[in-house]
């Protein structure tokens, strides 16, 4: 009797224990590998930027100190100071932000606080289309529209054909939709009770927007600004086409600051521009040119990574405030 019971029990236990399913496991492993591939990508990026940059600094002509402090980027004569390229990138990004921050923020305020559904239905798709236009087309636009317009306004003797202003303005137009959509999300996330309270105290819509909603959404808006800055720094085609291919080498203290170093109407190669121009054509491996683009890539990666992390911290703070 007991043995019979025992057999029953064994059968039941066997039926209830988890069956091995090799198919399920295989799928699970495959899906896991898909996720793990993204980590492999990151490792690949870090490894390849790291090793090639290391090789670059191993070259006799280059030292890390010179790379960080020299103000001349002239590979032909063996001067590798990244400052002129960083200057180009940062200057273009600064102009872009000067264009995009007011436009993007005001647009976002309009969309979030003022616009009716119909108005939103018109403007939102326009912004989405602007996001979808490839940057190389914006580069064409900068060269065939913005540059001639600037030269028409300020005179061809003042404005060079390749200039920082044209590139900066067009990059600004490019990042407006990004700022608008991120800032609008942040504004919409502000609880309505804050608005209602302000209205109840007699505030106008302008006062509610600028003194209640925008300050309340500030960290979310700032996150959008920083992310847009990161996008501007990494932007490639517009700066390559419109800002020219010569780095703005300068002698600190000797060259005039506003006449030359910060002249918006002269060209200045950006980091991304240098990488593209150098890689365009047959680039042989293990040359100093080949290694130099990775050193610049690493610099670019560090800058954008820092900006993206900063942006995420802002977003986190914003979430904590309202969730």
């Amino acid at each position: 009797m007991t043995t019979e019971n025992q057999v029953d029990r064994d059968q039941i236990v066997a039926r209830l224990t988890k069956r091995r399913r090799p198919g399920e496991t295989a799928i699970r492993v495959f899906l896991y590998l898909c996720g793990a591939l993204t980590i492999a990508t990151t490792i690949g990026i870090l490894y390849e930027l790291g090793t090639e940059s290391f090789l670059f600094f191993q070259e006799d002509e280059v030292s890390l100190f010179e790379f960080l402090t020299d103000t001349f980027w002239q590979p032909q004569v063996g001067r590798f100071g990244i400052a002129p390229l960083v200057l180009g990138t940062m200057y273009i990004s600064a102009i872009a932000m000067a264009v995009a921050v007011p436009l993007g923020l005001l647009s976002a305020i309009y969309l979030a606080e003022y616009a009716s559904e119909r108005v939103r239905g018109f403007f939102k798709p326009v912004l989405e289309i602007l996001v979808g236009v490839p940057t190389v087309v914006f580069g064409f636009f900068a060269l065939t529209f913005m540059t001639p317009v600037l030269r028409g306004i300020f005179g061809t003797s003042v404005v060079d054909f390749f200039n920082v202003a044209s590139a900066g303005i067009v990059v600004g137009i490019l990042i407006v939709p990004l700022i608008t959509s991120l800032a609008e999300d942040a504004l919409r996330a502000v609880p309505d009770s804050l608005r209602q309270a302000a209205y109840a105290l007699g505030a106008s819509k302008f006062e509610v927007s600028t003194r209640i909603v925008v300050p309340a959404a500030l960290s979310g808006i700032a996150a959008g600004f920083v992310l847009a800055m990161s996008r501007a720094v990494g932007e490639t085609m517009v700066v390559t086409l419109a800002a020219g291919a010569s780095p703005r080498n300068f002698e600190p203290g000797v060259d005039p600051l506003f006449g030359y170093i910060l002249n918006p109407f002269e060209g200045a190669q950006a980091m991304t521009g240098y990488v593209v121009i150098t890689a365009n054509g047959d680039l042989s491996y293990n040359t100093i040119d080949y290694n130099s683009i990775f050193a610049i890539g690493l610099t670019l990666f560090v800058i954008t990574f820092a900006l993206n992390s900063l942006s995420r911290r802002f977003v986190k703070r914003f979430r904590q405030e309202y969730e």
Binding site: T41, L106, L127, F141, E235, T304, N308
Partner: protein
């Protein structure tokens, strides 16, 4: 006395009726101005988009001044056709080849034939013995293996070699419509200033030209802007998208399924998630460097196809469609994952619980319950990610898209060019004709993107109606 004191105080603190009205007006004026400024900012975005499109269209059409070495009508008449009813492009294949045979010198002809032969069964410029000798040499030219030229290819050759059309000046669309005489004055002034070299004014004829036309889409790339087209680039872009989709969709959706359906909140899994968000913010040019250093260089035997062709070293040394497609695939991956995750998270938990309660395994639940519901959302995100990948230029330049290539890509291991690369190259040439070509190629690229985006919108609408 005791009553008047507080009265005075009241007046100090509270404005009079007029003052109050004035303050109110000021406030509402400021509010109206602010609203106007906001609306204007939005308008600028619209104006920018409109100007962009205007610039491109304006540059793609318009009057041109051309100098033909031989008049196409005279050529057609010489062959015994009626020039009014038969255009040069309507001529038979054999007639076009005949024109080349009689016009082009034998040296150039042989070179053309070595690039690509005219007939499968016979040679036009080369002799059979010599051809056999060339093709059995160590480095046979492409013509030995490639298929014969087609009609549009030969027509482009005739334009390039027989008619020898040269666009000496070009006008934009809007002035062409409203001020056509201005163009003629400009040309006359140009001749006066000697800007057109050896040409004389009576050689030049003004005609209408649509740079964006069917022939432009059909012709291969050429160094002569008058006959250059974007077929090579369109096919290159098509190959790129194919490889990108084949790589990033299965992997991206797989990773999203893992993260949403399987992953427990361990530290590793949250690291994967953070990492994906980080990757989405990496500039595209850095993906290009990854492609160059890893796919093109380290994986060269694989991406150049050397391990598949057993021994024959391919000439492309890893700078192939495959490398570029995989690079774009890695670039699109985070975007695909994030949008697929959103689509999966939008599926209600009740479906998961119901599936599991009925005894289905996790994968069975995912495959037959969750994926079908999330599919439209995943598709929409994927299409948008592909639309972005098509427009990417910088990574392609880094992995070595050929700047000049006239033969169509034939497989994953061919050299390639792509639409954005063409636009970039043409934009950076100073001649006006190339600028026009860049504008026309931009139209083609934007139309392609518009189609993709429209597909995404249609899917999204269908999806939201069902939900």
């Amino acid at each position: 006395m005791s009553i008047s004191a507080p009265e005075r105080k009241v007046r100090e603190y509270f404005p009079t009726e007029d003052e109050y009205q004035g303050l109110l007006d000021k406030r509402s004026r400021r509010a109206r101005l602010f609203q106007l400024a906001c609306l204007l900012s939005l308008m600028i975005a619209v104006v920018a988009l409109a100007t962009l499109l205007y610039t491109i269209v304006n540059d793609s059409f318009g009057l041109v001044a051309v100098v033909n070495e031989r008049d196409p009508e005279a050529i057609v008449a010489d062959l015994g056709h009626e020039p009014d009813s038969v255009a040069l492009v309507d001529l038979e294949f054999d007639e076009l080849v005949g024109l080349l045979e009689t016009t082009v010198g034998s040296g150039v002809g042989r070179r053309l034939e070595r690039d690509q032969r005219f007939y499968d069964d016979r040679l036009v410029f080369e002799s059979e013995e010599e051809w056999a000798e060339i093709c059995s040499s160590d480095a046979p030219p492409e013509g030995c293996t490639a298929g014969p030229r087609d009609h549009s290819n030969v027509y482009a050759l005739v334009l390039e070699r027989v008619v020898v059309q040269d666009v000496i000046a070009a006008y934009d669309l809007v002035p062409s419509i409203f001020n056509p005489s201005g163009f003629e004055e400009e040309i006359a002034a140009g001749f006066e200033a000697g800007r057109f070299g050896e040409y004389t004014p009576d050689q030049a004829s003004v005609e209408w030209r649509a740079w964006f036309n069917l022939n432009f889409l059909r012709s291969p790339q050429s160094a002569t802007p008058e006959v250059a087209g974007i077929r090579t680039a369109i096919l290159g872009s098509a190959w790129l998208v194919l490889i990108t989709v084949l790589f990033s969709v299965p992997v991206g959706v797989g990773a999203a399924i893992y993260l949403v359906e399987y992953a427990k909140p361990t530290r590793l899994n949250s690291f994967i998630q953070t990492n994906i968000n980080n990757l989405a913010g990496v500039p595209s040019i850095i993906y290009g460097m990854l492609g160059l250093a890893v796919l093109v260089r380290i994986f060269e035997p694989f991406t150049s196809g050397a391990i598949f062709t057993s021994g024959v070293p391919p000439a492309e040394n890893g700078r192939t469609v495959l490398s570029a497609g995989l690079t774009l695939g890695l670039l699109a991956l985070p975007v695909v994952i994030i949008s697929a995750q959103e689509a999966l998270q939008a599926v209600p938990d009740s479906l998961r619980h119901a599936g599991l309660a009925l005894g289905a395994t996790r994968w069975q639940t995912v495959r037959s319950q969750i994926l079908p519901v999330a599919l439209p959302g995943i598709l929409t995100g994927t299409i948008l990610a592909m639309a972005r990948a098509i427009g990417e230029t910088a990574p392609l330049i880094l992995v070595g898209a050929a700047s000049f290539i006239t033969s169509d890509p034939t497989g994953p291991f061919s050299k390639f060019t792509a639409l954005p690369i063409q636009i970039f190259q043409w934009t950076s040439y100073p001649q006006i004709e190339f600028q026009k070509l860049a504008a026309a190629a931009s139209i083609a690229l934007l139309l392609l993107l518009l189609t993709l985006n429209a597909a995404a919108v249609i899917l999204r609408n269908k999806y939201s109606r069902r939900a």
